[in-house]
Amino acid sequence: MAIALQSTIGGPSQRTLVMRYLRRNKSLAVGLIIVIFLLVFSIGGSLVMDTGKLAYPLAVAPLQPPGGEYPLGTDKDGRDLLAVMIRGVLLTGAIGVMAGTVGIVVGVVLGFLAGYFGGAFDMVVRWVTEVLLTIPGLILLIIIAGTIVDKNQVSVFTMAAVTSILAWVGPTRVVRAQVLTMKERTFVSIAKLSGMGNMEIIFKELMPNMLPFLVASFVAQVMGAIYASFGLEALGLGPAREPTIGMTIRWAVFHSAMFNQWWWWLLWPVVAMVLIFASLSLINVGLDEVANPRVRRTE
């Protein structure tokens, strides 16, 4: 009885341990807080507001400065910018998550196959990823989006599909390199000696060890996809009908919002974009600390 009592009092719970770790890993903590804020803002906002209508043209009076009925103001085409921000964060995030998921799934499969089995397949994968690293990603996506895709039919899914084209390169390289180093470690040899099959080794032994790398790689790809989609949107190759954050910036620049003193039109999407990128990058740095204890700082 006394012992049981002691362990409940003395041993910190899982939650306290996580909290304690986050206090030390400040980048991860701050990044997560911002992401949670953005999620609450966009998902909660969609429930409260009819963003399906208000975030699209001709919904409200145009060019109203922030205040009163429109807390964030309205744009030239009559979109309510608060609704645009709510929907924009959601759509922009969705593009990133879709492309990131495709990237990580393809990357894990290719990377594992190449790293674990080696041979000619490994060589092809290595060469292709190496060449793709040389090619400026955005330019390739511009060519694809600008010539294959019909500019007037671009949707959020098209953006996710186009940005997925390059999202697998990073994860493939990371997974392949990790598998190569882990393959040589003793625990894999022991698993082999104990008669485990290849698939069993991959899923039971290698995968758990790679989890921090996979999560970090996923976040990096989400960031990369949002970055690339923003580049395409800034050049006018984005989903013209959807109020993503990038398209909102594109329209504000296109209509010279800055020089016409419509500062709010540009300010809110810029703030949203900064928050998205800053949070993802903070999470990434934090995860790097989890995955490579070597870079852990002592201070």
Partner: protein, 334 residues
């Protein structure tokens, strides 16, 4: 220096250029969009050609570009023209060759991106090296997190903020173009100064947006290097901290930085393209933006090809310089 090493890097360059050319040959032929039809359809919408004329014009252009021939023959002819440096003719500035259009824009881009890349790499590496060095003052170490946040933000957005605050509100610097209207393009001092003042904002957008990347990389590497036996042994030898800082710490930590520099050129060009477009800087970024708006596919392909070549050549240059920094590569592995 090993001949094999150079040869391998050259072969890789040629392979990349061939791949890029082939992909650029295949993309339009895989697409359902006919570039020429698209272009003239757009023209027709704005000027009012009759559809009948349109078809005959398209047919004559297809004949001119050899699109009526079988695919393998097209490929051979296409590769031949790429080898001769012929990237086709611009549709928006017809009949100007694409190479000429790119040739006018390229020096601006090389100037802007060359200078900013060198500055960014140097500033970032120095800050990172100092931030990772235990004897540095606290404020140097504190510089890395804010720079890292800046590095996460696309340079285009930093550019918007700079234009708004420094160009528009404070009116400190010119906001667009590469030189003031009315000046003649020559190598006179006033013109060069004018170009430099115009280039400050675009350059700052690019530099602020990536210094943190290099600082973070260098700091991480520096922390690792400090645990190396040779740094400890250098201390045992009684060397002065300054000597250890440069010859033992920086000289080794910089090697992976140089490797990442070679891999960063693609991203640098991508960022440059967007920032140029924002500032109306007359480089290939602005040309590309115009070509996209005008559906000028030949210019888009041409710029795609040139940027791939530029990145591959820059990587080759770094690869060839790298052995000068790392003797282990210079003599090859035993």
């Amino acid at each position: 220096m090993r001949l094999g090493y150079i040869l391998r890097r050259f072969l890789f360059l040629i392979f990349v250029m061939w791949t890029a050319a082939t992909v650029l040959f295949l993309i339009p032929r895989m697409s359902r969009v006919n570039p020429i039809r698209e272009r003239f359809a757009a023209l027709a919408r704005s000027t009012g050609y009759s559809p009948k004329d349109l078809e005959s014009i398209i047919a004559s252009y297809e004949l001119k570009f050899g699109l009526d021939k079988p695919l393998p023959q097209q490929y051979v002819e296409y590769m031949g023209s790429v080898l001769r440096g012929d990237l086709g003719v611009s549709l928006m500035a017809y009949p100007k060759p694409v190479t000429e259009l790119i040739g006018e824009a390229l020096p601006w881009t090389i100037g802007l991106l060359g200078v900013t890349t060198v500055l960014t790499f140097l500033i970032g590496t120095v800050i990172g090296a100092l931030a990772g060095w235990p004897r540095s003052p606290k404020w140097v170490k504190g510089m890395v997190p804010p720079l890292m946040i800046l590095a996460a933000i696309p340079p285009y957005i930093l550019g918007l903020l700079l234009v708004y605050f420094i160009g528009f509100r404070l009116k400190l610097l010119p906001m667009g173009s590469a030189y003031s209207a009315g000046l003649t393009k020559d190598w006179s001092i006033p013109f060069i100064l004018d170009v430099v003042t115009h280039a400050i904002l675009p350059a700052m957008s690019l530099i602020l947006g990536s210094v943190g990347f290099w600082a973070l990389g260098m700091r991480g590497m520096g922390v690792t290097i400090q645990g190396e036996d040779y740094v400890n042994f250098a201390e045992h030898k009684g060397l002065k901290p300054g000597r250890i800082f440069y010859w033992y710490y920086v000289r080794n930590a910089i090697l992976p930085q140089v490797t990442s520099l070679a891999l960063a050129f693609g991203g640098i060009i991508s960022a440059g393209v967007l920032v140029e477009g924002l500032y109306g800087f007359p480089g290939i970024g602005s040309t590309l933006g115009a070509a996209i708006l005008a559906n000028d596919y030949f210019v888009i392909y041409g710029i795609g090809y040139i940027t791939v070549v530029a990145v591959a050549v820059s990587m080759l240059m770094v690869d060839l310089l790298y052995p000068l920094l790392d003797p282990r590569i210079r003599y090859g592995k035993k």
